[in-house]
Amino acid sequence: MSTSKGFGNSHNRAALLFLSPAFLLIAAFVAYPVVYAGWLSLFSWDGASAPIFQGAGNFVRLAGDPIFWRALGRNLLVALSAMVFQVFLALCIAYCLVRIVPAFSRIFLFFYLVPVMVSEICIGLLWRFMYNPYFGLVNAAFGALGLDGLKRGWLGESGTAFSAVVVVMSFTYLGLYVLLFVAAVRSVPESVYEAAEIDGAGHFTKFFSITIPMVGDAVRANSLLAIIGSLKTFSLVFVLTNGGPNHASEVVSTYLYKMGFGSFEMGYAATIGFTQMLLTAIGAWLVFRYLKRAGVGGRT
């Protein structure tokens, strides 16, 4: 044991050598930008003239910026909806596919995966057409059902724009979680279910008392994935509404983009980005801790 811990060990040196390319890439493309963004957040800079030192000025401004806080609130709503309509729904679907209709699981899985394989920009553009108040499928469907009163400019009205975006997000990412959960549910030993069946357990009991505890690790990993993804979500919002109308569907990333590349307030944009990263890290850590304590998943 003691020899393998020393740096002089030839195996370790080889291992370090193999790790170094990844390490260098992460240092250059992740660590450096993060540190630089933190540094830049102390300045006001329009990208052309010399940066002006602001100290904590940008952070003070951010703390009092209602658009940012509302955008962050929307990110949290996205995360909440992702937990329900992506993670939980995906687990239910995965259970059905594996335990109830195993014969069709492949074909269904394929359909759920189609949106995952298509780029988000394409999906966004597609849904823009579906939501179009004049030639869109959504309004046409309401018309066909005789519900003309429900027709509206989905993406153009402050009241519906954000919900419309969240629907698209759920549709887009659901398939990924179904795929991950199908693998997890399949790995649950058949004997456990057989034992439960002998005791007279139905699907409801099997789902909540066996499947969820047994795939706890997957639940935790997927929840983290969904929450982190929700906190930094950008492309679908950008394509669908660009945060509009009048910030009604703004999330932190689109606000950051507008500040950085619309207003060229690079320093303030860096402040938003740095704060977003910190909040995402804290959020992810809290979720991890909570799920661990709640006993979802046996070992850690």
Partner: protein, 399 residues
């Protein structure tokens, strides 16, 4: 060993990416990604190579929005290209304030180069009396309509704002959207506001802001203009959900005859090229507003693109030669022919090159205009533009 080879290869890549060597002129432009743009720049650069074989160019092209970021990054890092395409107004002024632009005054005074441009256009690339770039093309905003549809329905072109409102009511009554508007990106509605402001108060408000006139103010007329826009929206003269529709989607309504009119820039001519059979594009000026204090013949028209020279450029004589060539009447007429856009070089927008509609706008509307008022959103600094555009998202309210 492999690593070493990789390092050498990497170094080679870095070296080739470095700015042009001495004697070469680096030239960046945004004429990419769109066939008419590419055709134009290919023509211009080929001709330039024929006339000036001694000047070697190191050309970098990028598509408009990516280009803005790219140029900003280069300027910020202190490695600007020698000659480059830039937007006028706030975008250019940021570079001017940073002391990065070469003032062209002395060169423009020579050989009548400066006189070859429309005065109002050159004013849009100047700051504190110094010209820091040469203007290329100019876009103006007018009302567009389908002549065939108007003839079929018996609608007539309005000349006053009251007539316009009456016409809109008639059109709405026939189940057609009076005005196509796709305001997702917030600039299309600014035309409505600015034109009303120009008619009610007069042109020049934006210039006084850009020149940091402390007394500059939008005034009561701006409130009134916004109220007018809000009224149009509440009367249902704009499409449903227009704040979520893109300009292209609005265009589809317009070209398919689902919307009757559209207040938009001269780029509408290009956008209408794919119109269905029978569509006949016509235009009329923004109507006069009764009791408006502004000159009722004013036109909203802004310089869309410019070329400038970096203060750091080593060979300024060659750089000026390139600019002079690009803004020569021959090249600019070709620009009009390929892109169907008016240019700022006098007499270069010929009827043969521009086509009837554009030539009419250029020779009548623009020539008779009391003032040409530049677009607020490109003239102002980017941060102000952001706020201004959001104002135009709120004003029309719920659609």
């Amino acid at each position: 060993m492999g690593l070493k080879r990789l390092l050498i290869a990497g170094a080679a890549v870095v070296l080739t990416a470095l700015p042009a060597a001495a004697g070469e002129l680096s030239f960046w432009h945004a004429y990419a990604g769109q066939q008419d743009k590419v055709d134009f720049i290919n023509f211009a650069l080929d001709e330039f190579a024929k006339v000036h074989p001694d000047i070697k160019l190191d050309v970098v092209a990028a598509e408009q929005s990516a280009y803005k970021t790219k140029l900003n990054t280069a300027m910020a890092s202190g490695n600007p290209p020698d000659v480059f395409y830039t937007l006028p107004g706030g975008f250019l002024n940021a570079f001017v304030n940073g002391g990065q632009m070469y003032a062209l005054d002395a060169d423009l005074a020579k050989d009548g180069w400066g006189d070859s441009f429309l005065e109002s256009a050159l004013a849009q690339t100047s700051k504190d009396g110094h010209a820091y770039a040469v203007p290329v093309d100019v876009d103006s905003v007018v009302f567009w309509y389908d002549k065939a549809l108007f003839a079929e329905k018996g609608w007539t072109v309005p000349s006053s704002y009251d007539e316009l409102l009456a016409l809109a009511e008639t059109i709405k009554g026939e189940g057609v959207v009076p005005f196509a508007l796709g305001n997702k990106d917030a600039w299309p509605a600014t035309f409505w506001f600015q034109y009303l402001e120009m008619r009610l108060k007069g042109s020049g408000v934006v210039s006084s802001f850009v020149n940091k006139d402390a007394k500059a103010t939008l005034g009561d007329e701006a409130t009134k203009a916004l109220e007018h826009v809000a009224a149009l929206s509440s009367k249902g003269y704009f499409p449903i959900g227009f704040n979520g529709m893109g300009d292209q989607e609005a265009n589809m309504l317009f070209l398919n005859g689902q919307a009757a009119m559209m207040l938009n820039g001269t780029w509408q001519i290009g956008a209408s090229a794919d119109a269905p059979e029978g569509f006949k594009l016509g235009y009329f000026a923004f109507p006069t507003v009764k009791d408006g204090a502004g000159d009722q013949s004013d036109v909203l028209a802004g310089v869309a693109a410019t070329f400038g020279i970096s203060q750091k450029a080593e060979n300024k004589a060659d750089a000026v030669t390139l600019l002079k060539f690009l803004t020569s009447r021959q090249v600019m007429t070709k620009y009009v022919e390929l892109r169907k856009t008016m240019v700022t070089v006098k007499d270069a927008t010929t009827e043969a090159a521009a086509g009837p509609v554009l030539f009419d706008i250029s020779s009548k509307l623009m020539a008779d205009a009391g003032h040409l008022d530049p677009f607020y959103d490109t003239a102002m600094p980017p941060a102000a533009t952001n706020i201004y555009q959001h104002l135009l998202h709120i004003a029309p309210g719920r659609a």
